[in-house]
């Protein structure tokens, strides 16, 4: 409780507040309010000078409570509390009255606005009057980090965290890490081979003494809170011991089952026992349980017979691994939008209409065509090619409303690759407009366009027709206003990117949100791009939204830095403004337990509700629900609200 030595500071926020609120009058009025011993107004309270004013007044007037009437507390409450704490005032005895968002920005009558500002500031004085000194709650925490997704983003984050001296568990659902980058041919704008720059990173991650790699694995359960998450991971059996496997390929030779090969985007076949790709890590064959004729019970067993080193073990069982981690980074990447949604282009139907990712594999020297580009339908060479931008992107009516960001640049890259190997070939690119916003990308693309070796047609493709030995692309050139109709051998659709399959369920598992397009949602689009609303859970890479490799890597590092912020603390602190239960009143009715959105309150055996302060967010849902009035949130007590209400509604003396 304040002994009635409260200081009040009214901020002009430049003209933001001052224009609509007579801050001087607010200060003068508050000077006469009971318990207030000091009141002043100033241009920018958040500036160093403003903060110094608070510090000086606390010392000079021996203030035991401070009210700053300024912008929303979510902006600067921490700033002001830090300042007050520096000179010895308990930080929880400083309150912010919001006279910008709630007053100056929403009113048009200065008189009314000033009166409202006075009332809101008075209410904050009433609250401060009854605020208690509080001590932040210290919480011990785990020092491991969980990274989900072993694409370039996840690898980057894992290596960053590990290099800072913290253990990392890297969980990848596929049998190998590497993600989509491993499938790419070369990367824009430098045209260096994707594998060549990725493989060293993959090796680094797998060899790092602090990184525990769990491939073929998924997180199935998460509980706990920042600093203290318990995660359960399910690792599928590969039926092959990676330490014994010497990649001899004998098993695959005898395997009678063939299925379409994911790594080559279905352009080739693999066996039920296979090596995901040449540079796969872990470097080992895996047995695809779903494709295999049967392991349990064993139906075939030929692969085990031929394995010289005895690496194959049909008795392998799924493992459940439980880990305690302090922070979590989600980097689960993307998938392509299903091309069969684009019926007008014959997506998923015409074999010679391929996705951009298929094209990457087709031109890859170690891809299904060994780099020798041919039509998938009849194996004939490709001399005429069309690329279609925005296939599924930027079409809010029928497909995805957003821009996939990378397609303009990679299409330029792909067109260039085509021209490099087919100098006489014809390449046409249908585009809406060209968005090449990365460093060096514009130059890269413009070079290709300016070279005139690729025909850029501004316009949308209306229809593609498969004529058997060629495809006809119907479109309109919106610059010339003419209809275009060209015959080509192959069409490449620059497909929209979408969150990887299962992103939404995974978000639920981790108690975070997805945005309207299903990408993982950041806490603030500008200021907290890799944080989520769940403390200690971070997001990075394509999973957060469309982006290229450099941006993905940067976000991976950013998320690593945020995770390290937690892992490196001696102990974590938690706001002490949490719910408390009055044991004299609580009857154990259990109503609160279901009102709490955070599972933070439980009725114990004793018949009394107990708050887990670390889980408690101080939201007050339980206090409102509690039928006995047993629950109060510290420094948000009913008596405080009653006094605040009286101060807001009360008549002027």
């Amino acid at each position: 409780m304040s002994q009635g030595r409260i200081g009040v500071f009214i901020c002009h926020c430049g003209m933001n507040i001052e224009e609509m609120v007579d801050t001087h009058r607010v200060a003068e009025t508050l000077k006469n309010y009971p318990g207030v011993v000091h009141a002043e107004d100033y241009d920018y309270m958040c500036s160093e000078i403003g903060q110094q004013k608070i510090r000086d007044a606390i010392v000079e007037h021996k203030l035991d409570g401070v009210v700053v009437a300024a912008c929303t507390p979510s902006m600067h409450q921490e700033t002001f509390r830090n300042a007050a704490e520096e000179v010895g005032l308990n930080r929880y005895r400083l309150e912010v009255a919001n006279i910008r968002e709630q007053v100056s920005w929403v009113h048009t009558d200065r008189e009314v606005a000033t009166e409202k500002a006075i009332r809101l500031t008075r209410a904050a004085v009433e609250k401060v009057r009854m605020d208690d000194d509080l001590t932040p709650i210290a919480v011990e925490h785990a020092t491991k980090c969980l990274v989900v997704g072993g694409g370039i983003t996840g690898i980057q984050a894992a290596v960053n965290v590990a290099n800072n001296g913290y253990d990392v568990i890297l969980v990848e659902k596929n049998p190998s890490i590497g993600g989509h980058m491993a499938q790419l041919s070369v990367t824009f704008p430098t045209l260096d081979c994707a594998q060549c720059i990725l493989t060293p990173r993959m090796v680094e991650a797998s060899r790092h003494p602090r990184i525990k790699l769990l491939t073929y694995s998924e997180v199935i359960d998460v509980s706990g809170y920042i600093g203290n998450y318990t995660v359960k991971i399910r690792k599928k059996p590969t039926y092959v011991d990676p330490d014994k496997c010497n990649l001899c390929n004998k098993c695959a030779e005898v395997c009678p089952v063939s299925v379409s090969e994911e790594f080559n985007e279905g352009l080739s076949q693999r066996k039920a026992i296979y090596l995901p790709f040449a540079q796969a890590i872990p470097s080992s064959y895996v047995l695809d349980e779903d494709a295999c004729l049967g392991v349990k019970p064993l139906r075939c067993g030929r692969c085990q017979e031929v394995c010289d080193v005895g690496a194959i073990n049909y008795d392998m069982a799924p493992e459940i691994i439980t880990e305690k981690v302090g922070a979590i980074i989600l980097a689960t990447g993307y998938d392509l939008y299903d091309p069969s949604n684009l019926t007008e282009y014959g997506g998923g139907k015409y074999p010679d209409v391929v996705t951009s990712l298929q094209f990457e594999r087709m031109v890859h020297p170690s891809g299904p065509m060994k780099g020798d580009l041919r039509r998938p339908s009849d194996g004939r060479p490709v001399n005429r090619i069309a690329f279609v931008h925005c296939a599924g992107s930027r079409d809010p009516e029928r497909h995805k409303p957003y821009c996939s960001r990378i397609c303009c640049t990679y299409t330029a890259k792909q067109a260039l690759l085509f021209k490099k190997s087919h100098s006489d070939g014809e390449a046409s690119v249908f585009y809406i407009d060209i968005r090449t916003d990365g460093k060096g990308y514009e130059e890269f693309a413009q070079n290709i366009i300016a070279s005139q070796r690729v025909r850029y047609i501004r316009g949308k493709v209306a229809k593609i027709v498969d004529e058997g030995d060629h495809l006809t692309v119907w479109g309109a050139d919106t610059l010339s206003g003419e209809r275009v109709e060209i015959d080509v051998d192959l069409v490449v659709l620059a497909m929209a990117v979408v969150p990887s399959k299962g992103t939404e369920e995974m978000a639920k598992t981790f108690h975070i949100n997805v945005d309207e397009n299903g990408f993982l949602k950041e806490a603030h689009p500008k200021l907290r791009p890799v944080e989520t609303t769940t403390a200690g859970v971070f997001i990075a890479g394509m999973a957060q939204g469309p982006k290229d490799i450099p941006d993905s890597v940067a976000q991976g590092s950013a998320a690593a830095a945020k995770a390290i912020e937690i892992l490196s603390q001696k102990e974590l602190t938690h706001s002490p403004e949490v719910a408390t239960v009055n044991e004299e009143l609580c009857s154990g009715c259990g109503v609160c337990t279901r009102a709490c959105p955070y599972d933070a309150i439980k009725v114990e055996r004793s018949g009394i509700a107990v708050v887990n302060e670390i889980l408690c967010s101080g939201c007050g849902a339980c206090a409102a629900a509690c039928p006995t009035g047993a629950i109060e949130v510290k420094n948000d007590r009913r008596v405080q609200y009653a006094a605040m209400l009286a101060a807001v509604l009360g008549r002027d003396e």
């Binding site: 009143l585 009715c589 259990g590 109503v591 629900a625 039928p627 006995t628 009035g629």
Partner: protein
Amino acid sequence: MPKPKSVAIYAANGCGGCSQSLLVSDRLSALLDAVHPVFWATQPGDVTQAEIEQYDDREIDILLYAGPVYDDESIATAQLLRRVAKRIVAYGACAHLGGLCGLANLAPEATLHLAPSKDGRFIQPLSAVIAVDYILPGCPPPPAMIARMVDELFLGDELPPAGTVFAATKAVCAECDRRHLATPLTAIKRFHATPPDPEVCLLDQGYICLGPVTRGGCAAVCPRSDRPCTGCAGPLAGVHDQGGTILHALASLVRFTGPDGQRREREVLDSIPDIAGTAYKYSVAASALKRRVNDGS
């Protein structure tokens, strides 16, 4: 005040249950041994205003007042009694909260056998018209609470502090053995139509039990009889409005997720039949509910 020497009992048009509850109390003989009974009026006519006026100011040490206040005459009588009694106990739900009688306030006016008081009110709790020193809740008060009142008020060395309520400070739930569910509430049930699980909290099962908002001290007899608490002991000290509080607790308990969750929550809450008779059974007269505004039934 030294130990009380005299007691008087005044029952104002209650059902007679309160008088009987005292009559059959195991502590009645102890009470009558300790103090001199001035009168025991089991209905208003038993002691007239003129007779009450004969007593000196504060002559009667303790007055037990049962039944509600219901018209100008009963208000005048209560005021007279206040003058002649040192301490007054609101005895039973009617005196405490207006009781079941209070529901009559919501009946169409024309059907009431009542004349409104000068300020336009019908049934009121005693404390609405005079200062009340103690409260003995219950409809009628259960034996254990009566015993506590007799012990503390008549047999102890010192009078209990003014404002004492001779019931528990915790809610009925604290005395109830039923186990809680972790699942949200998805439908309102009625105990006569669907027999409840005898082990599980009635509220958790969807029966509107006033246990959480009601003072204990009754040993949760009603939930023990497989029927929800009806709230006769009135609100806990921290509860302003017994009915409103159980309703907002219900609003917290009813939970649906998914896109039409809110609509389904509304549907369940809207399905509560006879809200006044359920949430405010004994406390209409003590609540914010005043009169029926819509007579369209």
